[in-house]
Symmetry: C2
């Protein structure tokens, strides 16, 4: 089933302990579509300036990404410059030039409005709501956001979160939203807004899926990050994660609890590839076979005992049941 992604396309300058690179393809939409297109057909809704290099458009086209929603407008493309410290923790932003992204209003082309899977990458939640209102009853919608919108557009973000099926946020953002250091309570306050599931991104500590349910083991799913021999550039890990998550769901159309858990693992798998090189470079030559092999490694590295058939059946129920 096809996917639509709405968000930023950018030109990045990145410095990490392994090196410094300029003029990189960046932005959530770039990471998302480069990854999700390995799973299913993707349409990108974004904006770039007249300076946007043709080679990147050619790459998107080579992945058969639908660019009918990619606006090309006079002016310069959004640029971002950042630096990572020795621990590869949060990026220190050195410079942001919104350029044509400042006036971006996503318009969903008529032919994309009926698409079943929609991912709203991190943009102004008011724009996320505009997109949701243009779509014709998609099967699964998800959004990402960030601390800036939590602090500056809280009401709009709450409204957007109440309209989607899945919210993805960093652990610190969830605690900040709820003003509560206990992740379980903080997560519940987001589920109380309406989404069926909350995906907690925890960086080097992996990810969690939090849903409603009767027991801790049913409500929570926790998967580690892949033990990484070498990190080159963590930029886009969260967007790549979202692409593995949404791509797997669109491909399998399995919206059971077990399906969502496997989607979270796929997100972790592709994110672990993305950080192995700058920009989307590690994703360029990646295949579904590579992804399946690392998925099998995730099965082994988290396994300690089989599940009983009763609990296995619980996981395969539709999420709404």
């Amino acid at each position: 089933m096809s996917l639509v992604v709405v968000g930023s396309v950018a030109i990045d300058s990145i410095e990490t302990p392994t090196g410094k690179r300029e003029g990189l393809l960046g932005g959530a939409c770039s990471y998302f579509s480069a990854t999700a297109s390995l799973y299913q057909p993707v349409a990108m809704v974004a904006v770039v300036g007249t300076d946007f290099p043709q080679e990147h458009v050619d790459f998107f086209a080579s992945r058969k990404i639908d660019l009918s929603g990619l606006q090309r407008v006079p002016g310069r493309t959004f640029t971002w410059a950042a630096r990572y410290a020795e621990d590869y923790g949060d990026a220190e932003t050195l410079d942001t030039q919104l350029n044509v992204f400042a006036d971006f209003h996503p318009t969903i082309p008529e032919r994309l409005r009926g698409m079943p899977y929609l991912f709203l990458a991190n943009i102004n939640p008011g724009l996320q709501i505009e997109v949701l209102e243009q779509m014709n009853d998609p099967r699964l919608t998800a959004l990402d956001s960030m601390n800036y919108w939590l602090l500056n557009e809280r009401d709009l973000l709450e409204q957007a979160m109440s309209m989607v099926d899945v919210v993805t946020l960093n652990e610190t953002e969830i605690k900040m939203y709820a003003d509560n250091p206990n992740l379980l309570e903080a997560a519940q306050s987001i589920l109380d807004l309406g989404p069926k599931a909350l995906v907690v991104k925890r960086g080097e500590h992996g990810a969690m899926l939090i849903t409603r349910g009767d027991s801790v083991g049913e409500r929570f799913f926790v998967v580690p990050a892949y033990p990484q021999e070498r990190v080159v550039d963590p930029t886009g890990a969260g967007d790549t994660f979202a692409a593995g998550f949404m791509g797997y769901l669109a491909r399998t159309d399995d919206l059971s609890l077990g399906g969502l858990r496997r989607a979270v693992v796929h997100g972790s798998v592709v994110a672990s590839f993305a950080v192995e090189d700058f920009s989307i470079d590690r994703l360029r030559g990646l295949s579904l076979d590579d992804i399946e092999r690392r998925y099998a490694e995730f099965r082994l590295l988290t396994h300690f005992a089989p599940l009983c058939s009763e609990k296995q059946a619980l996981l395969e129920r539709p999420l709404d049941a």
Copy 2:
């Protein structure tokens, strides 16, 4: 199979965001023996002063803990006072009085020297070596340590680590030992000393087991911490973890890779109980049934797909194979 634990018994004063308590039973040996005695018979080798309350001796006796190695000497028992901040991270030590613990030299009674499972809690690595030299070829030995010994008795600690089967350390201590921010490389430098396995304690992020092996999924096992509704006092979580780990191994005598992984999960289970109250209080009324129930929750909260039979067989090989 019976267990011997060597380490500290203390009287603690603890302040956490949930409250402040004085005169608590503390020390690694107390947490370890209160927990491991739920699994198998335990013998404690430690020292207390003449002020040590009889009620604690009575508790140990009620758990049928062998106290023939518990020295009672003139003077006051080791005391420790500490405070935890809102995030329940590392304790801030407010006061330490070693008292009778300053001159502690563990002597293993003759009848305990043939016991098959030995845990060396965090004490001077020179003393850990003295204990290892007194034992008659135990089936499995493990040690814990801390940053103080890494900084001040590095040679002795390396020697001790080279003599045991399993080393347990915090993630930050492992990186500090190797002076390397990459956990995989840092862990390898400890395995290179000789132990078969390294258990990485990661606090609220759970634990890892690192062994030798051909693939990432074989070398690494990662388990999350239990999603905790309410933490009261994190003191002793690491010692309780070690007790669940060693207690499970002693009970099952299963030294396969799968056995060690299940032991790490048992460690995580009992640690998750320990932090729910001050001192060892949550462990007093705990049963193996309670432990098994939470172990089942861990199975559910980490499960996303069954393992193929070939990989399952890999886990059940003896660790040395």
